[in-house]
Amino acid sequence: MPFIPHTEAEVQEMLATIGADDIEALFDEIPAQLRCGTLELVRAQMSELEVSQLISARAHQDGQPSCFIGAGAYDHHIPAAVWQIATRGEFYSAYTPYQAEASQGTLQLLYEFQSMMTGLTAMDVSNASLYDGASALAEAVLMAVRANRKSKSRRVLVPRSLHPAYRRVAQNIVRNQDILLEELPYDAAGGHTDPESLERYRGEDITALVIAQPNFFGVLEEVDILTDWAEANGALSIGVVNPLALSILNPPGSWGANGVDICCGEGQPLGIPLSSGGPYFGFLCCRKTLVRQMPGRIIGRTRDLDGKVGYTLTLQAREQHIRRSKATSNICTNQGLMVTAATIHMALLGAEGLARIAARCHTNSRELEERLRAVGDVRPLFDRPRFHEQVITLPVTAKQVLLELADDNLLAGYDLSRDYPELQNAILVCATEKRTHEEMDAYAAALARVLSRRGEVTRQPQTERMVKS
């Protein structure tokens, strides 16, 4: 009996203590007609070896293509130490630190995490994680609506240049509370949110403005102007940021005159493997004045009976297990282990290490752009400064090209037409610090091959023209 330690003798002794004839008797309060039989649809048990063989074969089947997709999940190097420590049993198999005295390891680590996130974002406080970047944005919106008592409209402006999945998730979550997300267009030439586009909202009751840096296209937004606009218009500002980029980019706490009110994002670039999209972690930081509206766990530093420093869950009155239907959120289990890894990751690299990686990503993506430009009829769509992603237009629709390249063991980019019908031929490409010169050469060569094969097929109208029309 895998995992079950009982010997037959012990079972008998335990049953005798209970006063039951057999184990079945323990289920005698369940109405007999409800009981199910053998679960025929579940396979017979397999040994660890058999399972290993099955799962390894499946992993192997998918291989490890060379990855030029970003789109919210980035292929960064993770120091070996990160996961060797994070998977230590004491971190891996502990529960939420409800008994603080027996959980100082996790609690101090989380306090350090909060400190690091405030360090990176230049915000006052951080929580101890949310599920992922997208749901963190939803929570940030809900939080802004609660916090902005002056605003009655429940209208939140969201740039179209923000990650489309984030927009959808936020929508799916907040619509149940009658909150309206309104889309801000992006500039066709720059790929950014033109501050001018906000002018039509001036004077209206806007609860919050979402600002992405960099945005989904990899483009840098005019965050100072946007932040100041929000403040001037009585809207709270919500930054959505890539935390790795913040090692070189101006942090949201310093945007505009007074910084943003809330910022959130996806923590994956901080030491979390791509692993098919999860588990990652969402983070959320805010001004000190808003802390009581924050969702999620927060760790505080305090003292013990002897006056010694210790750490504990605090402000729990915001949380569902205390406040139930009045809680700031329903979140309970969060992404603790991911945060453990991210904390170790940040400690290993420090600000300078992260900045070097971020800078290398930037230069690699410029290098990739060079190579791809050299392939005829391929060129960058937007002309604004960017971090480590770039929108590239192809002379043909992207979908089939991407599939052919995938067969070539190359994930060549993200097909933007999925979310932006106006961008039919456009793909979003990313080159992190892991992409080598050889891989970029191979990419350019493979793309040239595929495009020349498609030379005969009818040309699609150029993407740029479509957008401008």
Binding site: C36, L39, F91, Y111, E112, Q177, L220, R303, T312, A406
Partner: protein
């Protein structure tokens, strides 16, 4: 222990993990760049490794201590699940890799969907919710979508027993519902009359767990299901307690319309000091169209993603990608190792352990909250006698247990039982460990009688003594801001 920041020295560059110099970011105009370095610690690899290795040892965990935390199902987390979920190809797999390069991975998810359908008796499963609470949100959102699709507008209330987990009401509120509490009868089952009195055309649904958080199986479940359905409401099953009934009785067969499962409980994925979890949802026929996307479908010989296009009535996505994939893989590995033989054993031996522990604690003089009832996989003691006569309360017992090398059971939950301890030993603990727990409780009881301050001052052997929560909340210190 000192903070990692306190070991930091400005200008330390001891990392082998970053490029040896910083590239020029000439392409980015000055105004976008930060002008001060982010406040992060500057330590060597050895310092980081030593610091976090040492920190880890200040935790209790399943791998080191008995952890009978009721409602949390802290059982052994198989190491094979970790190894296999961390195979290099899985770790490197980009979420946007096309299905043509993802058949192995999709096969795993598809199988897991099938297994979860089989064990819950539901008709469809979506794996995407990232934790129990997000599963609850998805479930209630589906209930809402269902009523809306039928044009059944007036249903504004969700019923929640007073014993329910806090996430239940909180999730329903996030979906825009009002909460109506229903009381638990003195035998632990839902009070049918109380239920009847609140059911009506305003009822959207009810959220239950069965066995409930008081640790007993609600014998009236069929009646409840009939009543709620008759009133036009739907039944939500909080699957946090699925461990108690795995392979024995299925929520679908009890009449539930929607369920979330906590894979980090029943399917033994690690809790990681707070997460991540996974909260897949299963539904009956009624709710099939509303399941959150993405899901995995068979497609000829292969597999493909189902998205909004395939499921136009879906409540949509709740995650930027497809949920906590790494957790799902861990659960899948565990499910395969259990197999059809192993599933019912989970319920059987968790019930055996719980009933044994309950009987021994009763024999030792402790008071069960529901003495007439079978324990399921967990049970409740009430220490109201001790609190009254000795002024030693549940929290004191809990803290003192830490000194005995046992993690405390869940305290003061569910709220309806005074001075309660919710105790869940799980099936992976051996008899000797249970006996050790009884011995510790007996010993603490004696201490409470002979030297109550010893217990009130506990713990004494942890790295810190009892912490001042009030100070923590009052003098908020949430991040290190430098020395001085």
């Amino acid at each position: 222990m000192t903070l990692i920041y306190e070991a930091s020295r400005a200008g330390r560059r001891a990392t082998a993990q970053a490029p040896s110099s910083r590239d020029d970011c000439g392409g980015i105009p000055e105004r976008f760049l930060r002008d001060t370095q982010a406040r992060l610690p500057e330590v060597s690899e050895l310092q980081a490794v030593r610091h976090y290795t040492r920190l880890s040892r200040k935790n209790f965990s399943i791998d080191t201590e008995f952890y009978p935390l009721g409602s949390c199902t802290m059982k052994y987390n198989p190491r094979a699940s970790n190894t296999l979920a961390m195979l290099p190809e899985f770790l490197a797999r980009h979420p946007e890799a096309p299905a043509s390069r993802s058949q192995g991975y999709l096969a795993c998810l598809y199988d897991l969907q099938q297994i979860l359908k089989a064990v819950t008796g539901m008709r469809g499963v979506s794996l995407t919710p990232t934790a129990g609470a997000q599963g609850e949100f998805a479930g209630v959102a589906m209930i809402k979508a269902y009523h809306e699709a039928r044009g059944d507008q007036g249903r504004t209330e969700i019923l929640v027993p007073d014993a329910a987990h806090g996430t239940n009401p909180a999730s329903a509120v996030m979906c825009g519902y009002r909460i109506r509490e229903i009381t638990t009868g003195s035998d632990g089952d839902v009070d049918i009359e109380a239920l009847r009195s609140v059911l009506g055309p305003q009822t959207a649904g009810i959220m239950l767990t069965n066995p409930s958080t008081v640790g007993v199986f609600d014998r009236g479940i069929e009646t409840i299901a009939r009543m709620v359905h008759d009133a036009g409401g739907l039944l939500y099953y909080d699957g946090a307690n699925l461990n108690a009934i795995l392979g024995k009785v299925r929520p679908g067969d009890m009449g539930f319309d929607v369920i979330h499962m906590n894979l980090h409980k029943t399917f033994s994925t690690p809790h990681g000091g707070g997460g991540p979890g996974a909260g897949p949802v299963g539904v009956s026929d009624r709710l099939l169209p509303y399941l959150p996307v993405p899901m995995v479908a068979r497609d000829g010989d292969g597999y493909r993603w189902l998205t909004e296009e395939d499921c136009p009535q879906s409540i949509g996505r709740l995650h930027a990608f497809a949920g906590n994939a790494g957790v799902l893989l861990r659960a899948y590995v565990y499910a395969l190792m259990l197999g059809r033989e192993g599933m019912p054993r989970v319920a059987e031996f968790s019930a055996l352990n719980a009933n044994y522990l309950l009987k021994r604690l009763q024999a030792a003089g402790f008071e069960a909250a529901y003495p007439e009832r079978r324990a399921t996989h967990e049970f409740i003691l009430t220490l109201r006698r001790q609190a009254k006569s000795l002024q030693v309360n549940t929290m004191d017992f809990a803290k003192r247990l830490l000194d005995y090398g046992v993690h405390a059971p869940t305290t003061y939950f569910p709220l309806l039982v005074p001075e309660c301890l919710l105790i869940e030993p799980t099936e992976t603990e051996d008899m000797e460990t249970l006996d050790g727990f009884v011995a510790a409780m007996v010993s603490i009881q004696r201490e409470a009688e002979e030297d109550p301050d010893l217990v009130r001052g506990a713990p004494h052997t942890m790295s810190v003594k009892r912490l001042d929560d009030v100070r923590a909340a009052r003098e908020l210190d949430l991040a290190w801001k430098g020395n001085g």
